[in-house]
Symmetry: D2
Subunit: 330 residues, 4 copies
């Protein structure tokens, strides 16, 4: 049984003992299947229009940049669950071979390789990453979409040019959290709280925005070590924010946690039910394990919470997600 | 002996038979060691200031985006040289497992992994990628900088937040090339030609810009197959452009070819001598295997050749390069 | 249309235009489903009994050993088909870091990693490697047996302790081939020829043996380069040897070619039809890309063609094949 | 400071506070540099002669086989130290794609790949794995032998045909251990105890043997989980057994533990000092993480402790170690 506060899901009329019913009820209200035609592969990225990029570019006032990426190395949080390891980066040649004389006229070079799960560190969940009862985004059969050959329909490469626009930070840690600006694990952030954060910060969330929700959990891991960061307890979005995600028409949402939604989930015997609706039904790109701390400090300092955000997935054909180094320009 | 026209290097006073002397002579003129202090790890990225990002943001007029990334898949150009393979992307779970009942309430998921050289497709060469006589950027000993553990000093993570700014396209293929807008292999593009392209296009290259030079070779491979794209003959920068790269104070330069510079190189028994100066001495980030074709077509259509460019390397600790999906916003 | 001589399949009553019918007809005669019970996972390895190992041990007369493995490195024959690359072996630490002082009292160490397809070089095909019309060994549903999680039933680990016994070399290259002891590509070796080779060599093939058929093609690649070794034309077993493989009750069969059977296959528009019967219906382990040349030279020298053979697959849980270094002791 | 009993090293005249001196003293007595010539790459494998294989073959009495390999999968003991992960095995195609119609006449196939450290599970340490003050086997400079390109001199491929011969089990767990036949962690096994085990078991250790020492620690992990199996406390050989290893002229030694020698080591601030002498000075192949439990139970049942052992490393060019599936035939 979940140890997370279930009052939000109860207030929304869901039974914490019946996640499958809750998912179905949410889907009935928010599913976007067909909204952009039967052939659509972009989902919520349709909301990230060229006009949004003009809006994003207008947010650039100082030219200061922030990488919102955590590190990709063996010191990461992965511990093998679902065969997810930390990235293994090795050298093919090094500076120690620089004078070995393989190449002419004194040139030397170093090359490297990496082996990693695409879900190991800062990432986008693509539309082929999660299914609801065997259905992928837009109502397609998951079994037809994602085979051993990869995602033949909604592979991350289809999104390659899209993820640039207006970013908005909602610093839940600072507005709702403790003195350090951190929320405790298992804290479900509700839709009302998202609105309250925006109000306190004086920023407006608009259709097509890429919303970054900082909980402060990642900051805590810097002091305390990873612990259960990859899959364990975490603050995060309440299941009940699905309507907010739908109604606000945001293009994507990212957090500084492993899995966007609150953990443990707000249902008994449940696993990421918000994903189950958000990805296949809302067609929503979810960003996970982002580092929002440096950006948040600057936003707090000058009171501006929007910025130009580019978060370009690698163009890996057929991938259901991608590592990413999101760059915010203020 | 090179089959490439050597007239440019000869005119510049270099002896095509003596690449080592040519490198030394160029270094004597253009080396920037110490320019940003002995501890500097950014090299030419120091030129990409916040002001440049304001300048870049001002180039956004329609909000149209272009991914400048080639695909990352097994259909790429690599054939094993220096243990460089095409990326191997495999699935940990697929849509075919979506109904297997591992997870509760009907949720299903797909995960994936990748194994790839960091130099396999669209990429940045980091400052630890190339050495001159055992010296890395800023005069450091290559053997101290890049060990089997990776680049401990100038690892690509140090550049994670920097590569966003004003991009400028120089479409050498269209201005200098054939009816299709393509230059032939072995065509060395000179500094004078770079200036001529800018003039014809009506665009100014300024300090701190990220310059993208389109040769048209990648477009040709779409029709004709990869052939020797990875390492074989190619149009590209003449060795003599090193002074232009130095004097123009550009922050980075990228091409649609495997190796930026003309291939075969303009010297007998030579291998990428421009790299040997540009990376360790100019501290210049080189972008390789970029797809500039879609962007170039739009630039040609409306006559504007500058844009906001974000080309964020993955934050791989200690990497000497990184795959990248550059996003141009016009 | 195949360029291979089809007279053997025609003589056996098959229509070269109808491989699917040929497969069905062969299956009707030779299928072993149920022979060792419904739960069996070993197939023909059931024939490799402890008594066979006594028989094998009795073949050891001089104690001379031969590794029957080709190399595992980037100079191998793979070119990317079906995402098969050559193995990428990289170092985590090297002798050049030996004095870096990470460890106490002067100890230094080197570690390494590998990324490779299990089918890249000398290998065993496990029973989960090939299916006939969606059926795996013993009549199981292939979709139930081999998922993204691997082969849950006949994973190669089930065979880990079995592959040691009496090996017999049939040197088709020397008996049937040219002066160099090599058969030409596209040469289908028939059952009659297998018997003839054994007769000429004075060796008896018995139930439970591991039979090694040398065609000489691998020897040719040493002179001429890989060419189409991985998947291209090759000498090999005729489809018509399926009855021989069945009737002889051999435990496994291996060749010095990429794919055991003759290539192109002896049917129009066909792909490895012998595999389609041998693996799922005979439950036969097929060894591919073995190096039989050194062993063969010694056998030819002293006229003895049997030996003790250990060909232990790596115990990779759920693998459908395995790299292997077979050791023959004479 | 070590928590391991240091009485054996003290009795042998070593100072537990001075491991570097102890290594030097041991080296002075046991080093074999030059014993087999300056060009030797085999070290102790020179002792594993053809005659030894005859001796080994004579041990085969029932033909029963035992795989001495632990599993290669994500449930292994690795946790990332020195970038060592558990092996990641993924499928390129599965049985679920068997009916997708890529191939003709109803054939379907599954392929797979693996990414793994060569030191992740049951393995051989090759002669390029460990160095003493920058020196590798036979006195070579480690920096010359093992570069980023691998071990150019003593790569594991040089041993490919050698590791088959007479195996002898010394069941330290049963003879010296508790009711379950297990030694406690930190238990240093001495030379006298090795001799005592052989005496109790009625088996003779002879030159050229491959000796397998079972401590019982691996059996304990089956009940209790991995815990610190990879690098943590363990029973194992005392540093003082180096003279026994030298004088006995064994060809190789393997244990059921992560690192052969007792952990913590018998010195203050020490790391694997027995390795530091055994590999570069004795030229000894060390086998680690072997599963000796099934074999040991059979040996205990009939009182015979020798067998034919084949432990063939994969022929990975330039590797400093190799995964292995050792097969014992009794």
């Amino acid at each position: 049984m979940t140890s997370t506060d279930t009052s939000a899901v109860v207030a929304a009329g869901y039974d914490p003992a019946k996640p499958e019913e809750a998912v179905a009820a949410a889907v009935a209200r928010v599913s976007r299947w067909g909204r952009w035609g039967a052939d659509d592969v972009l989902g919520s990225l349709n909301l990230l229009t060229p006009a949004k990029r003009l809006e994003g570019a207008a947010c650039v006032r100082t030219g200061t940049t922030f990488s919102l990426s955590q590190a990709f190395d063996m010191d990461g949080p992965q511990s093998g669950w679902r065969r997810r390891t930390n990235p293994v980066h090795t050298m093919l040649d090094t500076g120690r071979e620089a004078l070995d004389g393989v190449f002419p006229h004194g040139i030397g070079g170093a090359d490297d390789v990496i082996a990693m799960p695409l879900q190991c560190s800062t990432q986008w969940d693509g539309l082929g990453h999660i299914f609801d009862h065997g259905k992928a985004w837009n109502g397609r059969e998951a079994a037809d979409v994602v085979t051993s050959g990869g995602d033949a329909v909604t592979g991350i490469e289809t999104a390659a040019a899209h993820l640039a626009g207006r970013g908005v930070l909602l610093d839940a840690g600072r507005v709702l959290g403790d003195d350090r600006g951190e929320l405790p694990d298992s804290y479900p952030i509700t839709a009302e709280e998202l609105d309250e954060i925006a109000r306190v910060q004086g920023v407006e969330v608009r259709p097509g925005d890429i919303v970054c929700v900082r909980t402060g959990q990642y900051a805590r891991t810097r002091r305390e070590g990873w612990g259960g960061y990859a899959g364990g307890p975490a603050p995060g979005l309440s299941f009940t924010t699905l309507d907010w995600l739908h109604d606000s028409d945001v293009a994507a949402i990212a957090t500084d946690t492993w899995g966007v939604e609150v953990r443990p989930n707000e249902f008994e015997v449940a696993f990421q039910p918000l994903h189950q609706v958000a990805i296949p039904h809302l067609g929503l790109f979810l960003g996970e394990m982002w580092d929002l701390d440096g950006l948040a400090a600057h936003c707090a300092a000058d009171g501006r919470y929007d910025f130009f955000l580019t978060a370009a997935p690698l163009r890996i054909t057929g991938a259901v997600g991608s590592p990413v180094n999101p760059i915010a320009v203020r």
